[in-house]
């Protein structure tokens, strides 16, 4: 029986990789759970509050986006809008070209992966460097991140050391401190030489226009201190209504992502540097990106746009732990990716329609989501959509026959009687799903009809 690509990918994972992903995810999940319960009497209350604030914002997005734009423009920030990935990439390039800029450093932002910004810029002669350590290593390896917060969850120190050696960053040394120090020294030169610093944003406050950037390494600060121009590419769903709500989001975000109370750096940026400051960008641009988000906004899946990109759902997901991020064949893996990736794929929805099926609907993700997204409900809705649009069913058995049987009691009871035959059927001629089941599992003895006759007989006795 043909297997879904995700299952095939998972089956081919080395034990070492599977174990790194599983243990790394579990460790983050445990830290998250511990710190949240230590700090708050009612974690669910906070998650629901954050979820409601986000939902409200999404349902009034036009007015909040407009407010943010106004505030930013009043601070001298140049605000742009990009309909899709190509438009966003072109916007960035236009800004670079207007400044004669050839060198760019960037912080970690999933949106830049989504629009495939770096390959585009590099094709146009811009030298680009990822500065988040994990993303830098991914870049050196021409690899892809496998987690939205911990991009190299799937790599070990030996693989990293080999990469560094191959790329001329020193002789082989797999000590984490040495790896980090080498990246620090290498990238420091790049910050100081760069013309443009590019970032995303975790939040945009409509009240003040502030972009909030949440990081740990200091790379984001450097991208905004050394180069003379700052470009932020931000999905329109990052809006929050006001500064006050940030206290709820900031308290949930780092705890949900890594178990930290706050990330090391939380930056609130709403303009370029003042004229007399020696450091920092003299010019700031914000590019608000659609790229499929408005389409999602118009559907019953809009709750997924609340996502804070914390990764808590990935960390707890038993399927993610077995399959790892690359199995999801898209920028956003794990439970959030299983909903968001097929939706953002627009016309190519069917190519990713198997992602929502890679789940037992266990609900662990919904329990940890800091903005209370009902991910399992969204997954099951997407399965319905996939079926209606004729998505290939892959290895999922068709249940039309079962459903017919289940609406015809006489046929059902007959099947209960006939099922005994399965016990005697050689596996090769059994119906597909039964055969697949028994690839790895035994089936119990068939007992169809046994309960019913017991119940009937005792009824007669009375």
């Amino acid at each position: 029986m043909k297997r879904e690509p995700i299952d095939q990918f998972a089956a081919k994972q080395s034990d070492e990789r599977r174990t790194s992903v599983r243990l790394g995810s579990n460790a983050c999940h445990e830290k998250r759970t511990q710190v949240l319960h230590e700090d708050y009497a009612d974690v669910d209350l906070l998650r629901k509050l954050a979820g409601q604030i986000k939902q409200h914002t999404l349902e009034h997005l036009d007015s909040y986006l407009e407010k943010a734009e106004e505030k930013l423009r009043a601070r001298g920030v140049k605000v742009h809008f990009a309909l899709d990935a190509e438009a966003a990439c072109q916007s960035v390039l236009d800004i670079l070209q207007a400044r004669g800029a050839k060198r760019l450093v960037k912080t970690k932002t999933m949106v830049s992966e989504e629009i495939e910004l770096l390959p585009f810029l590099e094709r146009h002669g811009v030298e680009c460097f990822e500065t988040d350590l994990g993303e830098f290593i991914v870049q050196l390896d021409a690899d892809r991140p496998s987690h939205i917060v911990k991009p190299i969850l799937h790599k070990n120190r030996r693989e990293i050391a080999r990469t560094f050696q191959q790329k001329g960053l020193g002789t082989y040394d797999d000590t984490p401190e040495v790896i980090t120090r080498r990246a620090r020294e290498f990238l420091r030169r790049k910050y100081l030489e760069a013309d443009v610093g590019l970032s995303g944003a975790n939040f945009v406050s409509a009240e003040s226009g502030r972009l909030v950037l949440v990081t740990n390494e200091g790379n984001s600060r450097f991208c905004l201190a050394a180069p003379r121009c700052h470009i932020a590419v931000v999905g329109i769903e990052k809006l929050v209504p006001d500064d006050r709500s940030l206290s709820v989001f900031l308290n949930l975000l780092a705890r949900s992502a890594t178990g930290q109370r706050l990330s090391v750096y939380t930056e609130f940026i709403c303009g370029a540097r003042s004229a007399d400051a020696p450091d920092g960008p003299e010019e700031m641009h914000v590019i608000f990106l659609d790229n499929g988000r408005t389409e999602v906004l118009g559907t019953e899946y809009r709750e997924i746009l609340r996502c804070l990109r914390c990764g808590a759902c990935l960390n707890v997901c038993p399927v993610y732990r077995q399959a790892s991020g690359h199995a999801y064949r898209s920028v956003y893996p794990g439970p959030v990716g299983a909903v968001l990736s097929p939706l953002l794929a627009g016309k190519r929805f069917l190519e990713l329609a198997d992602l929502p099926k890679a789940s037992t609907l266990c609900g662990a993700c919904a329990e940890v989501c800091p903005v209370d997204i009902p991910i399992p409900d969204l997954l099951v809705r997407l399965r319905n959509r996939g079926k209606q649009e004729g998505a290939p069913s892959g290895a999922t058995p068709s249940l039309g026959g079962f459903a017919k049987l289940a609406s015809m009691p006489i046929a059902w009871k007959a099947a209960l009687g006939m099922g005994k035959l399965v016990d005697h059927m050689p596996r090769a001629v059994q119906p597909g799903p039964l055969r697949a089941w028994q690839g790895e599992r035994d089936l119990p003895a068939w007992r169809g009809g046994a309960f019913r006759s017991w119940f009937r007989k005792r009824g007669k006795k009375a």
């Binding site: 790194s20 409601q52 939902q55 911990k150 420091r188 050394a226 329109i236």
Partner: protein
């Protein structure tokens, strides 16, 4: 460009139009997001110190002790914001070389940078920087050791307080401990692109 803007807003409005019942913005008390340990902090300086140390930062109240610590770290050359020289006292420069203007060309020469903090947060051990108080961004970022001079009156109790006090500076940074990463096998390493030592010197005022 304006076409893209108009198009996006049109799409948003079209997407939301069929929605009959809209979620209202919930009201909530700021205290709902304040961590348990921060609900009662009679001594903000002590609470701030404890929280800063919990994230592997260091707090000093005595410039002499700070200078001695710098010497044990063999951190002898540093940038100092001239406005804090008075708070450091004349003895600070003993066996240390202090420069009052930051040279970008010699960015890696500085072992430490001493700048003014705009404030701090006791709940989280956070040091608040902004362009007004730290106009030389690199001075607080590039050297391995960053020392922020924190006036005790500007220590906010909790995160909601600090948010209300954000003000209009275009670049506000909350620093909560030294820079770090756990990207390599989940192992915590301190001192990545930013400082490996985050210090607060708490002064009167």
């Amino acid at each position: 460009m304006t076409d893209a803007r108009d198009e996006i807003f049109a799409r948003i409005r079209a997407a939301l139009k069929p929605l009959e019942a809209r979620t209202t913005l919930p009201t909530f008390d700021a205290s709902v997001a304040i961590a348990r340990h921060a609900q009662a902090m009679p001594d903000l300086v002590a609470a701030f110190t404890q929280a800063l140390e919990a994230v592997h930062g260091r707090a000093f109240r005595d410039p002499t002790a700070l200078a001695a610590w710098l010497r044990t770290k063999e951190a002898t050359l540093g940038y100092v914001d001239p406005e804090v020289l008075a708070a450091l006292g004349p003895a600070f420069a003993t066996e240390l070389t202090l420069e009052t203007s930051f040279s970008r060309a010699r960015v890696d020469d500085y072992h430490f940078g001493i700048t003014r903090a705009a404030g701090a947060i006791a709940e989280s051990g956070t040091i608040i920087l902004d362009d007004r108080s730290t106009p030389v961004r690199l001075a607080a970022l590039a050297p391995w050791i960053h020392i922020a001079v924190v006036p005790r009156s500007r220590i906010h109790a909790c995160i909601p307080d600090a948010i209300s006090a954000l003000g209009d500076d275009a670049n506000i940074i909350w620093c909560t401990g030294p820079s770090k990463t756990a990207d390599v096998e989940g192992i915590l390493i301190e001192g990545v692109h930013g400082p490996g030592e985050q210090v607060a010197l708490i002064v009167d005022g």
